[in-house]
């Protein structure tokens, strides 16, 4: 028996590319601090190489390393999404890090490590693989959350993330053990074949805790506002998007495709979805910290996505995947803008501080406006397309009540997005905010704006891509 065949290695080439890049980044960083400022280019190139490899592999199906990794179109599609998030993050984070005097290579390395783990999350065919890669992602994110280690908020958010995250992970492990006992294996295919005994069901629920946790779905969301608020803006952007997307892909693979949602999960999903929407939206209404506001909004978005998941149909799978993509694009953009607007040490994250930004920085404000309207689900942006399809899928599955609830919720949600727009556009500037927009950030933001709007008006390409990625 060979430890790993060529085929195995071949199938994980993108990950290997990232791994190598990360290693190079660390080494370069270690030996030459001065060249640190070009690390973003280096890591971006690594991401592009990985994407290229992913492109080359696209269509090659099959298991790798026994039965723990399964590569299919969904996995490759997911890889694109993570790579895109990583690319944007690495690309613009440099401006942020330079401003904060934290231009350390670890940042890029951690992002790359996290990304490659996410890629494994999305293609894991075994709960073991899923859990391991998820933990690696988590560890990277713990570190990233506390990256600016002399900022109180950062440290606090890292601690909260660490403790609550590990706590919920422990439940997952227990759940996995129970599943292992009941199903005799941790392979997804084996579990899907097993009889559903109450023991297995409870095991699966316990296992799902870390999924709900990572999705920041209520009532497992409590860490999210604090962590998202405290972590450095680019990190928040990254962990809010890529990490969640990874979970979404796994959910599609495991809960929707393998297990089937209907009998097993419907009640849980509806409960979680409703509670997430309510808690997320209502908590955001009075929120004044823009990062925390978006954190609550992300909780609500988890609820909306859960609506699509609850439908459990083929449409639902497409909707979930597409929702994940849309969600990534919008939030990455929003946090990219915030990372600029927040200023040195992220002091200006309160809405009061942001008031009247539009007067001096109309383009920046307009870009944030686009992302916010997209989050609110205004037509013409990708946010609408994704939300529409998610609700349509659930509607088709007959979840009328849930959809109605979600629709009303999204109307309520519009309020707090408007509130941000109101502060930016409709108030007179209190003081001049000294904001320097780096070239990289500018490019990243404009790119994201373009994608958000383009995909909102002609979503066909992206949508078909997502749909094709599902069997």
């Amino acid at each position: 028996m060979v430890l790993a065949s060529t085929k195995d290695i071949y199938l994980i080439l993108p990950e290997i590319a990232l791994l190598v890049t990360a290693a190079v980044v660390v080494i370069v960083d270690a030996y030459s601090r001065k060249r640190g400022s070009f690390l973003n280019i280096l890591s971006s190139i690594g991401v592009i190489v990985a994407a290229y490899l992913n492109f080359k592999l696209y269509g090659d199906h099959g298991y790798a390393f026994g039965s723990i990794i399964y590569r299919d179109k969904l996995a490759y599609f997911a890889n694109y999404v993570f790579l895109f998030c990583a690319f944007i993050t690495c690309f613009y984070a440099r401006d942020y890090l330079l401003r904060e005097n934290r231009d350390y290579g670890e940042f890029y390395a951690l992002v790359l490590f996290a990304t490659l783990s996410m890629m494994f999350v999305a293609s894991s065919a075994s709960l073991l693989m899923f859990f391991l890669s998820l933990e690696v992602v988590s560890v990277c994110l713990y570190a990233l959350a506390g990256f600016v280690r002399d900022r109180d908020l950062c440290v606090e958010s890292a601690l909260k993330y660490l403790l609550v995250g590990a706590f919920s992970a422990a439940f997952s492990v227990l759940g996995m053990a129970m599943v292992y006992y009941a199903a005799g294996s941790l392979d997804i295919s084996a579990i899907s074949r097993a009889d559903i005994t109450p023991f297995l069901a409870v095991g699966l629920v316990l296992f799902a805790v870390s999924i709900f946790f990572k999705l920041s779905a209520a009532p497992f969301h409590f860490w999210a506002p604090d962590v998202y608020q405290g972590a450095p803006a680019p990190v928040t952007g990254f962990m809010m998007t890529a990490a969640k997307a990874a979970i979404f892909f796994f959910v599609v693979r495991f809960f929707m495709m393998a297990l089937g949602v209907k009998e097993l999960w419907l009640s849980v999903l509806i409960f979680v979805s409703v509670v997430s929407m309510v808690i997320g939206n209502f908590s955001a209404i009075r929120q004044m910290d823009v990062k925390r506001l978006l954190a609550y909004s992300s909780i609500a978005h988890a609820g909306y996505a859960m609506v699509a998941i609850a439908s459990g149909t083929k449409y639902g799978e497409v909707a979930t995947v597409f929702y994940a993509v849309a969600y990534c694009l919008m939030n990455l953009g929003a946090f990219a803008v915030i990372s600029v607007l927040a200023g040195k040490d992220e002091r200006y994250v309160n809405l009061e501080d942001l008031q009247g930004v539009a007067v001096e920085h109309p383009v920046l404000a307009a870009a944030l406006g686009v992302f916010l309207f997209s989050l609110a689900g205004m037509p013409g942006t990708i946010g609408f397309i994704s939300k529409f399809y998610a609700f349509a899928a659930a509607f088709k599955a007959g979840l009328y009540g849930l959809v109605l609830f979600a629709l009303i919720n999204s109307a309520i949600a519009a309020y707090y997005y408007l509130k941000v727009v109101y502060y930016m556009f409709m108030r007179e500037p209190k003081k001049s905010i000294n904001v320097q927009v780096g070239v990289a950030t500018g490019i990243a933001v404009l790119l994201l704006v373009a994608v958000v709007i383009q995909s909102g008006i002609t979503p066909d390409y992206l949508f078909n891509f997502a749909r094709m990625s599902l069997p």
Binding site: A358, F373, M378, P379, A392, F395, I408, L418, Y422
Partner: protein
């Protein structure tokens, strides 16, 4: 006039965006350049829209100038544009009022660039709403329209602008999300029935729906549109939005946006669910009549001129709704004409109020009195607008109002009689206001030195007064263009689905056109 293959509706819809692009590259300090650019763009837009009137084929209820392109293929959504007798004048009204509004926005000095960008963007969305024949496309324009209007009210509005803007936005949004739900339902029902995905109006009209669900769907649509109209008791966003919006914003809000509600009833809500129309006719007629009387009574006691005009809109739109739900040729034609009339006359009133506000920065009636002496031309135009609004024969308001009530009387005499009280009440609140503002001696010294209209304002008013007389004296061109579509609407709303629209023979396809041009 032969239009050839010219995709006039697309050009109309997206031409303002060209203006947006141009203005985006003008330095924000060049305020006058920006203003003139915006104005010229809107004038060109208006000129482009004029051929619609002449090339419009009479005697057919079919959609004209149709353009159909695949849009979101995987959803079966089309970029499907076309107008009929119902929308022809709404589109013309849009281009016309936008032009005047931009001309009336010279007094905006704050962030002119953004203002003009918002305004032109708004025009795109408004025309889109009226032209879209695909429900998803319609919904797209319908919702996106909120954004520029939200900004117009919220950034350039009065002291309580933010409250008004957010109220406007959320209120509309609440209505439209339910409509979205209903659209999704129709979409799936159509899929279930035919196996194809489609948002096309004509396709969805063919659906046979479960009679148990129809009332809910109807109400979901109706709520969205009723809020927009606004029907009593969903009207309270209107006074706030109107009062706080800048002049041009109020004009567009009253002139165009409210029409989208009534238009929605005509195009979607009622044709889709004839069974529910029958069921709820009395309810909606009652609400319409309550709106008429209530709006008028509340208008009577307003202290702010703009608020008065805003409540008068509630009353006038009630008349439109009365006409629509009475469902006969006269009432619906009247209601439709009344929509145009209201756009013109209330638009004119808002423009006028804006002009005096620019001078005195107050709209409270008690601040004025005796203005007629110092501003005779202004007073004259104001009087014409007032009488147009209260339906004096010979001016536009009368034709619409009379037809509406006449038709309504045929089917629902009681409601028509109650609705006709508006003629008394509208005269009361408008003339009382006019008296307090323009008559009496000038008591407030600040009013002594008011200047009469300048050339720009004079031109605006002359332009807007022309259609008042035109419709009042010779409404035939309007009515004859509306009639086939109105007839088709009535048949649809009465459930005679045999008269579903057919596609026009010739499709204008933008892509093929471009490729054709390239080949030459």
């Amino acid at each position: 006039m032969e239009m050839g293959n010219f995709p006039i509706l697309s050009v109309l819809t997206f031409f303002p965006l060209v203006g947006v692009a141009i203005i985006a590259f003008i330095n924000r300090e060049n305020v006058n350049v920006i203003r003139w650019t915006a104005f010229v763009i809107s004038v060109i837009e208006f000129i482009i829209s004029i051929p619609l009137y002449f090339a419009f084929k009479l005697g057919t209820p079919q959609f004209q100038f149709v353009e159909k392109l695949p849009w979101i293929k995987s959803w079966g959504a089309y970029y499907y544009m076309g107008i009929d007798g119902i929308t022809l004048f709404l589109v013309l009204l849009t281009t016309f009022l936008t032009m005047l509004s931009i001309l009336a926005s010279w007094s905006i000095n704050k962030r002119v660039k953004e203002y003009m960008i918002s305004f032109l963007f708004l025009e795109t969305t408004m025309i889109g709403v009226f032209c879209a024949l695909d429900l998803l496309l319609f919904y797209l324009f319908w919702e996106v329209m909120l954004i520029p209007m939200f900004l117009l009210i919220g950034v350039w509005g009065g002291p309580r602008r933010v409250y008004a803007a957010i109220k406007f936005f959320l209120y509309t949004m609440v209505g439209s999300v339910l409509m979205l739900g209903a659209i999704i339902y129709l979409y799936w029902m159509h899929y279930k029935a035919t196996g194809t995905l489609s948002f096309e109006l004509m396709e969805l009209l063919k659906l046979k729906l479960d009679p148990r669900v129809v009332p809910f769907l109807f109400l979901a649509f109706a709520l969205a549109f009723a809020i927009k109209v606004p029907m009593w008791p969903f009207h309270t966003w209107l006074p706030d939005a109107h009062v706080e919006a800048p002049t041009a914003g109020s004009v567009i809000l009253a002139g165009i946006l409210l029409k989208m509600g009534t238009y929605g009833f005509m195009r979607f809500c009622m044709p889709f669910f004839p069974a529910a129309v029958q069921k709820f006719a009395i309810l909606f007629l009652a609400l319409a009549v309550i709106g008429i009387i209530y709006g008028a009574l509340v208008a009577l006691v307003q202290e702010d001129i703009k608020k008065l005009v805003a409540y008068s809109s509630v009353s006038h739109l009630g008349t439109c709704m009365l006409g629509l739900f009475a469902l006969n040729l006269q009432s619906v034609s009247g209601g439709l004409l009344q929509m145009i009339n209201h756009g013109i006359s209330t638009g004119a009133l808002f423009l006028l109020v804006g002009m005096i506000y620019d001078r005195r920065h107050t709209r409270l009636i008690k601040e004025y009195g005796g203005i007629a002496k110092v501003m005779p031309i202004y007073a004259t135009f104001f009087m014409i607008a007032v009488f147009s609004s209260c339906g004096l024969p010979g001016l536009n308001g009368f034709v619409g109002e009379f037809l509406t009530l006449l038709g309504a009387f045929k089917t629902y005499p009681l409601f028509a009689v109650l609705g006709a009280t508006a003629t008394v009440l509208s005269a009361a609140y408008l003339l009382w206001m006019y008296k307090r503002v323009f008559f009496h001696e000038i008591t407030n010294p600040e009013n002594m030195k008011l200047k009469d209209l300048n050339l720009r304002e004079f031109i605006i008013m002359v332009l807007i007064v022309i259609p008042m007389f035109w419709i009042g004296l010779y409404p035939k061109p309007f009515l004859e263009r509306m009639q086939p579509s109105v007839e088709a609407f009535i048949k649809l709303a009465k459930g005679e689905k045999s008269v579903v629209y057919q596609m026009e023979g010739r499709k204008v396809n933008l892509a093929s056109l471009i490729s054709e041009k390239l080949e030459r």
